[in-house]
């Protein structure tokens, strides 16, 4: 088992906004994820290490952090795939306040989901009969393409517009707004377009597609934001906004 004896150096952010990297020398274990690695360090080396996780299988979106500078979901990232010259650097997600070590405060992220009206609002009229929305319905397909977001915050951390303009709603919130804009049952389209056209709205996106590059579920928030831009522009020209 020579691979288990090979050692790597893991530098982990310790502290809050102010802090420093602390190095740990650990064995490189086959098929170990970053999350497994953190658990082994917490159990065997330093129980005060803080990080966040829940499902461990890529569903909950809790365990995202920066690995060698890039945001990733750590429960589905193998150490062997990302270790570089025997070194690994783990830091909390960017663009969010650090609570402790690798844990960030997600409140600003979810506040922006609310600011972008990322909640379903049913149409006023009561549903009297089933309204079938077939799989080949174009709007349904657009909603389906955006709906699988697990709120991990990876795109928000990767976004250089969020970094330069803290008011920007961010890829995830705008992607959520786009999925609702294509929901036939939702009745607050104009209000939502008003919510996403403000100072930090969809038009602030630089279409650099860092969110697309980093999304662990291969979603395309840039395309969703482009859809919102188009809808905002059309509504504006029609005088609805």
């Amino acid at each position: 088992m020579s691979s288990q004896q090979e050692k790597i150096t893991v530098s982990i952010w310790r502290g809050k906004e102010e802090g420093d990297l602390e190095s740990f020398e650990v064995p490189l274990v086959d098929n170990q994820t970053i999350l497994d690695l953190l658990t082994s360090i917490q159990r065997d080396v330093d129980p005060s290490l803080s990080y966040r996780f829940a499902c461990r299988v890529g569903m909950c979106g809790s365990c995202a952090m920066r690995v060698n500078g890039k945001p990733r979901w750590t429960c589905r990232t193998l150490v062997s795939k990302v270790v570089s010259n025997g070194e690994l650097r783990l830091e909390p997600l960017a663009n969010l306040p650090v609570v402790k070590d690798l844990v960030v405060d997600m409140a600003p992220f979810f506040d922006k989901w609310q600011a972008g009206k990322g909640r379903f609002e049913a149409k006023d009229s009561a549903v009297m009969e089933f309204a079938p929305i077939k799989p080949d319905n174009k709007k349904r397909q657009l909603a389906d393409a955006a709906i699988e977001c697990i709120n991990c915050g990876v795109c928000y951390s990767a976004c250089d517009v969020v970094e330069s303009n803290p008011a920007f709603l961010g890829p995830a919130a705008l992607n959520r707004a786009w999925s609702l804009m294509n929901d036939e049952r939702d009745g607050s389209s104009i209000e939502r377009l008003k919510a996403v056209r403000g100072e930090g709205g969809c038009q602030s996106c630089h279409t650099n597609s860092q969110c697309v590059a980093r999304c662990p579920l291969q979603l395309n928030p840039t395309r969703s934001i482009a859809g919102l831009k188009k809808q905002v522009a059309i509504a504006m020209l029609k005088g609805e906004l």
Partner: protein, 112 residues
């Protein structure tokens, strides 16, 4: 910040960008066609003098370029320099007006 104004400026930036794309293509194709076999300044002036179409085309070109450039610079100033508010709007309106005046002077020289 006035959200309606912001989105209007954004839309104007997009639309003027599209118009400029078209104008540049028309401008370049025209230039390439007319200089075949050589063309002197006097010959250019002869063709553009009193030409309303030329004046109209380049008038729109100037306004679109002035709008596009000013709105774009405003966004850059906001994002890079974090400069916002009436002072920025005033400076860039002056910049817009200056570009328009310079452009119109050039067109007058070409057409009159």
């Amino acid at each position: 910040m006035n959200n309606r104004l912001e989105i209007k400026l954004w839309l104007a930036h997009r639309l003027t960008g599209m118009a400029l794309g078209l104008f540049v293509v028309i401008h370049l194709i025209t230039m390439i066609i007319v200089i075949q076999g050589g063309l002197s300044a006097a010959e250019i002036m002869e063709r553009t003098s009193s030409n309303i179409l030329v004046a109209l085309f380049y008038g729109l070109f100037v306004v679109a370029a002035a709008m596009h450039g000013s709105i774009g610079l405003r966004t850059v100033a906001q994002e890079v320099l974090n400069w916002k508010g009436p002072s920025l709007d005033l400076v860039l309106f002056i910049f817009f007006a200056l570009l328009c005046v310079l452009g119109v002077i050039a067109i007058i020289g070409l057409v009159l």
